[in-house]
């Protein structure tokens, strides 16, 4: 039996394993470097304050890539991510504990795909990023 979800057994309401993320200064620095993003709000605390942020800001696209990781870790290497969308409702800051959770909201047996509803939340439970995705599950 595969350790990844399969069309024969998947059901609406199935939950994805929760994923925790936290970016410190080093992680923010590495993401700025790897994405060639020189925006000062990600590395200059004084400048971030000047722009009205409470602390260094976690990059929006970094959270986007955490979102795709959350999905592909669950779906497994044989699955294919077909679409993903998210809204950025608030900023995440350096050191904050962030949590991704999600569930299956529909199953399309004809196309072998499922739709997911996902939320990235702060520690106080407030939603940072609501998201949706469609994934074609792998063959076992």
């Amino acid at each position: 039996m595969s350790k990844y979800p399969e069309m024969t057994t998947i059901q609406v309401g199935d939950e994805l394993p929760v994923m925790h993320k936290q970016a410190g200064e080093a992680e923010l620095f590495l993401y700025s470097a790897a994405s060639f993003n020189p925006h000062r709000i990600h590395y200059d605390r004084e400048y971030a304050h000047y722009e009205g942020h409470q602390d260094l800001v976690v990059h929006g696209p970094l959270q986007g890539s955490w979102l795709t990781q959350f999905i592909t870790d669950w779906a497994g290497p044989g699955a294919r991510l077909l679409s993903v969308e998210w809204q950025n409702r608030a900023s995440a800051f350096v050191g904050e504990k962030l949590t991704f959770s999600g569930s299956v909201v529909s199953v399309d047996q004809v196309n072998g795909s499922v739709e997911l509803e996902i939320y990235e939340r702060k520690e106080d439970g407030s939603v940072l990023m609501p998201a949706k995705a469609t994934v074609k599950l792998g063959q076992s």
């Binding site: 993320k21 470097a33 020189p38 709000i41 696209p61 795709t68 870790d73 290497p77």
Partner: protein, 163 residues
Amino acid sequence: MSASLIPPESLARVGEILAGPITVRIDRRESQRYAYAVGDLNPIYFDDGAAKEAGYRALTIPPLFITHALVTPKPASKLRADGLYEDSTSVNLEVARMMFGGEEWDFLEPVCVGDEITGTTRLLDLDQKEGKKGPFVRLVRETTFTNQDEEIVARSRQIGIAR
């Protein structure tokens, strides 16, 4: 009705190409640096055997890396006070700040290391709306990514909120 935040000359740019076409070869080390920076150590990005077993032609890449692969480096003298580069893709609006509103992606074909990817960004939509905190502008930039076989591999719509 609030005053327009969108000057007519900006509205006239809807449909215009804002950036590209720019073509780059997807590089293994750049993709893997990105994966490490995200903390996404999926073997299909690092191990040829794992990628092939999963049905890919070669190593594949973290899905959103394709955007960053197309970033064109510029000299530090082109940096503005906020650290960003002078941006030829910016659209003139009567607003104080632009925020990141979200993204929508369609993935149509796999992208692998070594692929030649071309990205073209258009101003898809520019629309003034009334929110709880007053008027704002919703700006949508769409990037289409094609590969060396002229297949569309992905489309992204980046949504900016300006007020």
